[in-house]
């Protein structure tokens, strides 16, 4: 034990004498752990939120019975079904406003609530009584309590004057949801004796058919993983995870090079230790402990940084999840013990993986081999050949996976193989470029320039690989994001063609609104529209009814269409299909599509395919008149208005006053557009932030590599100085070499980045979201990145160069005489 302590003290003394190396190692470890764990924290937070949401929904994880014709149905159906043996539990749901804040009010019945629907409220044990007996309880998430500025036990009123039972916090609820006992909910929502849906418990019993009990009043909705939030958002999280993992790898690159260098420098120390009677097993054991100590120290700091990153990104992630999928993610980051454990484990495993080769070398260390400086790097050189072969194999594998694979995972595999293959190929390519340079030079100093650059390559290659990866990913993601925003703006103009959107409370109100609008001159067109939810292939699909009007004909974002598509649509026998639905169903214009409607099957011809970016559900569009015929029971409450420019705001004000429409029922196109853009910007803000982090980490990798290299390069520079090259000249040469190598790397990163962008747009996005963006190249963005990369290299070189320029001649002399 004590021996181990002294050995550890000796091993650690190295870091005390080489703080820069320790810093490099730590930066690698910290950035690897921080980025990975930050992303993981975000994912965990989101998943925990989904669980909470699912607990409230009893959501789509539980089969449900819903009203066939209207949103609510008689409570007697619940009793009838129970008496017939159906294990159903009633739910009533509605929206209320409290202090102006819209909340979802859920009334549940805890005694019959099916266990698999999630652990609704703390209606486990003793709380049941207080929940179901007067005055009852209003269960809310902690965030909701805070948002309402309430305290537990406070009894609030809705803005309509209904009183809510006393508030009680329930940690596992989703934000902005209030859960009360069913009877209270019915009275608050003015739905006495009515239910919104029935949750169906799992049972193996044979049940009487639904129709014999409930007639045609209810519809059975299967428990469906496909509509589950977790499923919907999977691809979003996969994206995040992929970036987290990439950052982790870049960080490990640094760890690998720092540890490799530290081990190499300590080889003589290891030999001395062995000579002084430390057994090989002891030495390896203590080395392992040292690595773990470093890993845990770095891991802990990394986790703290990861927490900060996650906390910083959470608002954007939450906003984009809410915007894209309607998923509520709680805004307060709550970390679980598993997260800490996993973070430290990743850090430890990463460190061990990065140091595996070095450790193996020490384990096999013959005590007597004469200390060979730079043995580590020389062996690196031998690896170059192997690296080339591996790189080629990886790129080949990428092509194979691309042609054979069909899933999102395989899409990411292509991306990973492409990036790794390219990274491995980089030193080989650089060596080639430098050799060509060397061959074509005559002047001795220039020849030396090329030769020495080539000699430096192995030591720099890890940092350069990191730079290449970071740049390529930046180019890729940047290109994708910009392609998206360019496309998205045009697309929004097409999709949000009307100026004002109205959704009336009832059909009667809709007719009133229509009548009042006809009297207004500034309203140039009133376009009724419809929306219904159907199922195609067992998954939910939206069906839109569009008016036959120039507003749509001119702007609807068609991607592919048959001649006279709008004419066909008007006939009621054709439909437009959203891109993602068409891809999923593998249909093209001209194919037929059968749609189940309340009035029977509807066979439609696909007249066109249109872009519907960002919608996780499939969508089809049909003519509004045909839609109304096929869905006769659906209240016709939706109207789109064309309004003369400049008259929109007063019109909206008037309508708000006249019909008491809130913003969920009356919206302005420009507001909608702005909101949509904000959502999408935030979606990509996360990716962009991670991107920047990755570039930063690559910069640090470059800096630390150059710093360590500059130290060990002095023996090579000292003879030149002795031959009469000034320190300033030496610094100039060093500068040129590094900047040249970095530049070539950046140039190689550009095509790689465009390839990555293509992969993201044409492979990953299509597989993740179902839509494909047009591919645009943004030369300015590329130039900008090259400049950033050069600046990063410049910055990284600054310290070593200054050090070289200021090095006292005496130091150079000593190096010259000592090391030669």
């Amino acid at each position: 034990m004590k021996q181990g302590y002294w050995i550890l003290a000796v091993l650690l003394s190295h870091w005390r004498r080489h703080p820069l190396q320790l810093m490099t190692l730590m930066v690698g470890l910290i950035s690897a752990t921080a980025l990975w764990s930050g992303v993981e924290a975000l994912n965990q937070q989101a998943r925990a939120s989904y669980d909470r949401a699912a607990a409230v929904f009893g959501g789509s994880r539980t089969a449900m019975l819903v009203g066939q014709r209207s949103s609510s149905f008689s409570q007697q159906l619940f009793v009838d079904l129970r008496r017939a043996g159906w294990r159903v539990s009633p739910v009533v749901e509605g929206r209320v406003r409290v202090q102006g804040r819209p909340l979802r009010l859920l009334g549940i019945e805890p005694v019959t609530f099916p266990a698999q629907a999630g652990s609704i409220p703390a209606v486990g044990a003793p709380d049941l009584k207080s929940f179901i007996t007067p005055p009852g309880e209003a269960l809310v998430a902690p965030e909701t309590l805070t948002a309402l500025a309430g305290t537990e036990g406070a009894a609030l009123r809705t803005d309509d004057g209904e009183s809510l039972p006393p508030l009680k916090v329930h940690a596992r609820l989703a934000p902005d949801v209030v859960v009360v006992d069913i009877g209270l909910a019915q009275s608050i929502l003015h739905l006495q004796g009515r239910l919104s849906r029935l949750l169906v418990g799992n049972t193996r019993s044979r049940l009487p058919p639904l129709e014999t009990v409930a007639g045609d009043m209810l519809r059975y909705v299967e428990a469906d993983a496909g509509t589950d939030l977790e499923h919907l958002t999977d691809s979003f999280h996969l994206n995040l995870s992929a970036f987290g993992l990439l950052s982790f790898l870049v960080g490990l690159f640094i760890v690998y090079s720092a540890i490799g260098l530290a081990f190499e420098q300590r080889m003589p120390m290891f030999r001395t230790l062995r000579a002084c009677g430390v057994s090989s097993r002891q030495l390896n054991g203590v080395l392992l402990i040292e690595l773990l100590v470093l890993a845990i120290a770095g891991g802990l700091i990394g986790l703290a940084c990861g927490y900060l990153i996650a906390a910083g990104l959470l608002p954007d992630v939450a906003a984009s999840l809410q915007g894209l999928y309607g998923a509520q993610v709680s805004g307060a980051l709550a970390l679980r013990p598993e997260w800490w454990g996993a973070g430290l484990a990743m850090s430890a495993i990463g460190t061990l993986a990065a140091s595996a080769t070095s450790l193996l070398k020490v384990i096999r260390l013959p005590v007597l081999a004469a200390a060979q400086p730079y043995a580590w790097r020389q062996s690196q050189r031998r690896w170059l050949g192997w690296q080339g072969v591996t790189a080629a194999a990886m790129l080949l594998a990428a092509i194979i996976v691309l042609t054979l694979g069909d899933s999102l995972i395989s899409g990411f595999a292509v991306l990973a193989l492409l990036l790794l293959g390219a990274a491995l190929a980089l030193p080989v390519l650089l060596a080639l470029v430098l050799r060509i340079g060397e061959r074509s030079s005559r002047r001795p100093l220039v020849v030396w320039f090329w030769a020495d650059s080539r000699q430096q390559l192995p030591a720099l290659s890890l940092a350069l690989m990191a730079l290449l990866l970071a740049l390529a990913v930046n180019v890729g993601v940047g290109t994708m994001v910009e392609s998206f925003s360019k496309t998205f703006t045009a697309w929004l103009d097409g999709r949000l063609a009307a100026d004002v959107y109205v959704n009336a409370m009832s059909e009667a109100e809709a007719r009133d609104i229509e009548a009042s609008l006809r009297a207004r001159q500034e309203v140039t067109a009133i376009l009724p529209s419809g929306r219904a939810e159907i199922e195609i292939g067992g998954r939910p699909v939206e069906i839109l009814g569009l008016a036959d009007h120039a507003t749509y004909r001119d702007r609807w974002p068609l991607l592919e269409s048959r001649p006279n598509a709008w004419g066909d649509l008007k006939s009621g026998e054709a439909a437009f299909v959203s891109e993602q639905l068409a891809r999923r169903l593998k249909r093209r214009p001209g194919d037929r599509l059968d749609v189940g409607t309340p009035t029977g099957d509807w066979s439609l011809r696909i007249a066109a395919i249109y872009a519907d970016y960002g919608n996780p559900k499939g969508q089809i569009a049909v003519n509004i008149d045909a839609f109304t015929t096929r869905f006769p029971d659906l209240p016709r409450t939706r109207l789109g208005l064309r309004v003369s420019p400049g008259k929109i705001a007063p019109l909206i004000d008037d309508m708000r006053k006249a019909f008491h429409l809130d913003e969920s029922r009356l919206s302005n196109q420009s507001t909608l557009k702005m909101e949509s853009k904000v959502i999408f910007n935030r979606t990509f803000a996360v990716t962009a932030a991670l991107n920047t982090f990755t570039l930063g980490v690559a910069g640090v990798a470059l800096l630390t590599s150059l710093l360590t290299l500059s130290h060990s390069r002095l023996p090579q520079l000292a003879p030149l100085w002795a031959l009469g090259v000034t320190r300033r000249q030496l610094a100039g040469i060093e500068f040129l070499k590094t900047i040249f190598i970095a530049f070539i790397t950046a140039m190689l990163a550009l095509p790689l980045g465009l390839l990555v962008a293509w992969c993201l747009i044409a492979v990953v996005n299509v597989r993740a979201f179902g839509w494909r963006l047009p591919f645009h190249v943004f030369p300015l963005h590329l130039a900008e990145l090259v400049v950033v990369a050069m600046l990063a290299s410049l910055l990284a070189m600054l310290i070593p160069l200054l050090r070289l320029m200021r090095m006292p001649p005496a130091a150079l002399i000593r190096i010259f005489s000592n090391e030669r």
Binding site: G124, L184, S205
Partner: protein, 362 residues
Amino acid sequence: MSASPKISRRAFATGLAFFGFGRSASLAQNFAGLGGDASGFASVMPGKSFEFPRDHGPHPDYRVEWWYLTANLRDSTGNALGVQWTLFRQAIQPGPQREGWANQHVWMGHAAVTRADTHRYGETFARGGVGQSGVDAHPFHAWIDSWQMRGLDRMSAMNVAPLEVNASHEEFSYALRLEADKALVLQGEAGYSVKSERGQASYYYSQPHFTAAGIVTIDGRSANVTGQAWMDREWSSQPLAPDQTGWDWFSLHLETGEKLMLYRLRRTRGEPYLTGNWIGSDGQSVALSPKTAEMIPTATTDVAGRRLPTGWRIIIQDRGMTIDTVPLNPESWMGTRVSYWEGPVSFTGTHRGVGYLEMTGY
């Protein structure tokens, strides 16, 4: 007729059903938890005059109440089986019954079938006030979900017969018709059953004289069955003593036509309290003297992580009775939210016959 703390067995079940919803907390704690809640409910007083069919119906002023049926049956090839049907009511707040979801009663149903090699059970819960569960006195109808016990045409209020009873769950179902040619039996002193020296009591009557016939289906296999059945009706508001940990309870049909109800109440400290009633073939119920009866465990079974005494020797000196009981299925464990052992038994010795054993608090 002696003091009968038998209420404890049922009160345990309902009490725990409510206060320990989903938990198997220690019994004593749950009893203690029950303690404060009796105020505001009607008290059980001696001298009540029972009136039927009115008293077949619910007594919402009292906190707990149940309709409890066990049947010892045989199929056409002579194999023994048992059936249980139970409906519990508990008021979670005193006061007049409120309408709709505001109603303060919670109902719990248990049903089970037992063969020598199989034991299947199910449970269900309901809120009062909306019609998912309830009891009507006349015409008699007790139900929860699709499970029900219903008086048939011309039902005799005093005999509580004829009745039909049915239940179904995932793996089993049954439908029985019950007949009785003797009147129900008031337990305790004319139905006033004192259960402790402190004066806690229940109203309590039984119909132990049912004959039963019907169909039992287990795991998809149906059998025609016949046999005898025993119904208990009890209601009260009184809590239990904090030191009661559980009980071992028998209802036995003797081949002579006599019936025996016997149980012992276990306490954390001190001897178990033992009592019961001997019901003659003429229908007269006589309390046993605690001093003359003994219940001795003779065999144990490990089930659901617990060790239970499933074999018993019962000695009743003044009746010249020494019998040994054997469970039809030693693993008759009710793994419901409130869990206990309940299953058919048979016995031999000075007397022979069949019956039911319930054991709680293990």
